[in-house]
């Protein structure tokens, strides 16, 4: 569209502004900076704590063990640091410095624990993970004593995908519509549903499994199957997705809803064309986080799908196994190769969860209503198009505005 046409049109209607780069943000001043004597104090306290601990361990007292070493060194570090700081600083500053170290170290401990979990599982599973047959074969003809070049967990991977896909089919439509209900309905029943859903997030997963086990398998006499497992997982996932989708929908700006209403849209059109598209990335995130929870469920699957070593692609009959359950069953074996397979299954599961998690991060990074560059370009083109259309209609009717 030429600029001349555009300027003629803009006289009549307000166009959404072209996205411009934000103003250069003000430079933020750094208020807390480490001075040289701070670093020297920390370093000195560190060296002296480690030396003292080394002296204590093995020389002066019969203490031993890496874990104990770290703890003793840490406590000594805090004490020595506080003593050094108190030579020059006032009491509140010393307390502040010590608390700073404590807060930092609690974050470091948490991240260290996470890192050991990830690295440990991958290292222990590596002997199994490095063979390609681990991903393409099942365990039906492989015994616990067979080497890792035979057999794999393809049946568990397929089982995980089937069970998760089925539970997605069950939960997503229901959860999203129910979250819309919670937000759009002003009735008292919506409050009741919200309370019950909140209550059900407290349901221990094993009870969801026990429920399906008794109803589906004992009362209705169906087989243990992938379907039963996905029902149990759905009961787990449903309240989780509803609750987070409910929160996301509540964040949709009221102005958008009111604008749609002011333009005469019925409520269902407001929801379909305004509320849901606005909250799309948030809803995707809540679904993905629900999946990340459901994909790792072991207890309900243990009760409802049983364990099998063979590939089973039919969710309606015969036992089916998913990755967490396979890991759980395999590590119970005394054979090192079988344990490696179990860790391999756990590592595969963790990689799946990681992928899902980063997908959720990428999709859910934006606030509701905040558009990506491509989306806002598309919106601009769309509304120019609308404007032309409206202009054209006006011309036809001969009521051209001045």
């Amino acid at each position: 569209m030429s600029t001349a046409v555009a300027s003629r049109l803009t006289g009549l209607t307000t166009l959404p502004p072209t996205p411009e780069p934000l103003d250069v943000p003000q430079q933020r001043r750094v208020t807390g900076k480490l001075a040289r004597h701070d670093l020297l104090m920390m370093g000195g306290a560190g060296v002296s704590a480690i030396s003292t601990t080394m002296l204590l361990f093995g020389r002066l007292t019969p203490m031993s063990g890496t874990f104990g070493f770290l703890i003793v060194a840490f406590v000594l570090y805090i004490v020595i640091y506080a003593v050094i700081a108190s030579v020059t600083e006032s009491r509140p500053t010393v307390v502040d410095k010590v608390m700073n170290v404590l807060l930092t170290s609690s974050a470091v401990i948490a991240l260290f624990a996470l890192a050991t979990v990830i690295i440990f599982v991958i290292i222990r599973g590596w002997p199994a993970l490095k063979h390609s047959n681990f991903y393409t074969e099942d365990l039906s003809t492989t015994g616990p004593l067979d080497p890792l070049t035979q057999g794999g967990i393809s049946h568990a991977i397929v089982g995980t995908l089937i069970i998760t896909a089925l539970s997605l089919v069950f939960t997503v439509p229901l959860a999203v519509v129910c979250a819309v209900f919670l937000n759009e309905s002003k009735s008292r029943s919506a409050q009741l549903v919200r309370t019950v859903v909140t209550a059900m997030t407290a349901l221990p997963s094993i009870l969801a499994g026990l429920f399906v086990f008794v109803v589906w398998i004992l009362v209705f006499d169906f087989q243990r199957s992938g379907l039963a497992a996905s029902i149990a997982v759905s009961i787990m996932m449903l309240p989780i997705i509803i609750r987070s989708a409910d929160v996301v929908l509540r964040l949709v700006p009221g102005g958008l809803r009111e604008a749609a209403a002011a333009l005469g849209a019925p409520r269902w059109r407001t929801v379909w064309h305004v509320v849901l598209p606005t909250a799309r990335s948030g809803i995707m995130t809540s679904v993905i986080l629900g999946v990340a929870r459901g994909i790792g469920e072991t207890a309900p699957v243990l009760l409802t799908a049983g364990y099998t070593a063979a590939m089973n692609t039919n969710p309606f009959e015969n036992p089916m196994v998913n990755l967490p359950l396979a890991a759980f069953e395999l590590v119970k074996s005394p054979q090192p190769d079988q344990i490696a397979r179990g860790f391999g299954a756990a590592a595969t599961l963790m990689v799946l969860v990681l992928i899902l998690f980063f997908l959720a991060r990428i999709l859910g990074g934006r606030q509701p209503g905040q558009l990506s560059q491509r989306q806002s370009k598309r919106r601009l083109v769309q509304s120019r198009h609308d404007l032309e259309r409206i202009e054209g209609r006006h011309k036809l009717q001969g009521v051209h505005g001045s």
Partner: protein, 340 residues
């Protein structure tokens, strides 16, 4: 200076300031929309109620048989009519207590570190990593606990037992802490180790709630404390912690609710036993969910009913804990906009 009373628009008119009632009579589309969403709400409600009611109904035969002694019996022999949740519930509570006690300082410290101490560029990464911790499947934590943590923690168990063994819950039967060569097996598979693993799952849940609350501390109060010459810790102590009290309590209880229901990590670590075991460092323990996972297969109709009763009791406890948590969070100053 004269005092000025500012009347709101409505007060001047003498009409009360309440929003007008809106009436909207929808068309056919809206009626269908209402029907659809209403049905889905009803469906979700009925599924959820069905689970609860079904558990209760199925648990009735077992509860009727034992009556009140269900709460006080430690044994689990449904075939002989001798069963109760005293031992397993005690085990569940002890594991959850260890988990929360271990996770609370770490999660609070991490939440404060993220909101107050960490440099700006690090914050988003840390938030993502804590969320990631919450997404790691429990079986992975279980494997880590059983194969890595257990071996490293025994030294600490021994140390606690040696120096604090005179406190009843830290004493261990058959242990000789004074001899470094004594068998380590008395310390394995204990409630303490299971609790530490569950702490890994509880910590991110607590941390997310607390971080949410701490990040809502009003900047005015925060800067006011700094302007009065407070150090960072001084500000945290007098502004952030009191402001976030509801979130801290609520977040810890939310974590407690998760810890009570954890199955697979506990199952991987403890060796089940059915007596009232207060000694958290001692080998063996139990929890309601581990009991269900271990026994569901060998049970006949009545045994299942007994398991249902145990599950019902567990559900009742987690329900109370979770609702108390939401109540604390909603009641706190910061709770209005937090979603936990």
């Amino acid at each position: 200076m004269t005092a000025t009373t500012v009347l709101r628009e409505s007060e001047r008119d003498g009409t009360p300031a309440s929003p007008r009632k809106l009436f909207q009579r929808g068309g056919r589309g809206d009626r269908m929309f209402d029907a659809l969403t209403g049905t889905s709400g009803l469906l979700v409600l009925s599924i959820m109620v069905a689970v609860g009611v079904f558990l209760a109904v199925q648990a009735m035969p077992a509860l009727r048989r034992t009556g009140f002694s269900f709460l006080t019996t430690a044994e689990w022999q449904p075939d002989r009519g001798q069963f109760g949740i005293a031992a397993v519930m005690l085990g569940t509570v002890l594991i959850a207590a260890v988990a929360v006690a271990a996770a609370l300082p770490i999660s609070m410290g991490t939440a404060l570190f993220i909101t107050e101490v960490a440099p700006r560029w690090l914050r988003a990464t840390l938030v993502a990593l804590v969320d990631l911790m919450a997404a790691v499947p429990s079986v992975v934590y279980g494997l880590w606990g059983a194969k890595l943590l257990q071996g490293n923690v025994i030294g600490i168990s021994r140390w606690i037992n040696r120096w604090l063994g005179w406190i009843p819950i830290f004493s261990v039967k058959g242990a000789d802490p004074s001899s470094p060569l004594s068998s380590a097996s008395v310390y394995t598979a204990s409630t303490f180790i299971a609790g530490l693993v569950v702490a890994m799952m509880v910590m991110p849940i607590q941390c997310v709630v607390m971080r949410e609350v701490f990040s809502q501390v009003p900047p005015g109060e925060r800067e006011g404390a700094y302007a009065l010459g407070s150090t960072r810790w001084g500000m945290i102590r007098v502004v952030a912690l009191p402001f976030g009290r509801g979130g801290i309590i609520g977040g810890s209880m939310l974590g407690l609710g998760r810890a009570l229901g954890e199955t697979i990590a506990v199952l991987l670590i403890i060796s089940p036993r059915f007596d009232m075991n207060f000694h958290i460092l001692e080998a063996g323990g139990n929890s309601v969910s581990a009991l269900i996972a271990g026994r569901y297969n060998e049970s006949n109709g009545f045994g299942l009913s007994a398991l249902m009763a145990a599950g019902l009791a567990l559900f009742a406890v987690t329900l109370v804990v979770n609702f108390t948590a939401s109540w604390f969070i909603a009641r706190s100053r910061s709770g209005a906009s937090s979603d936990a």
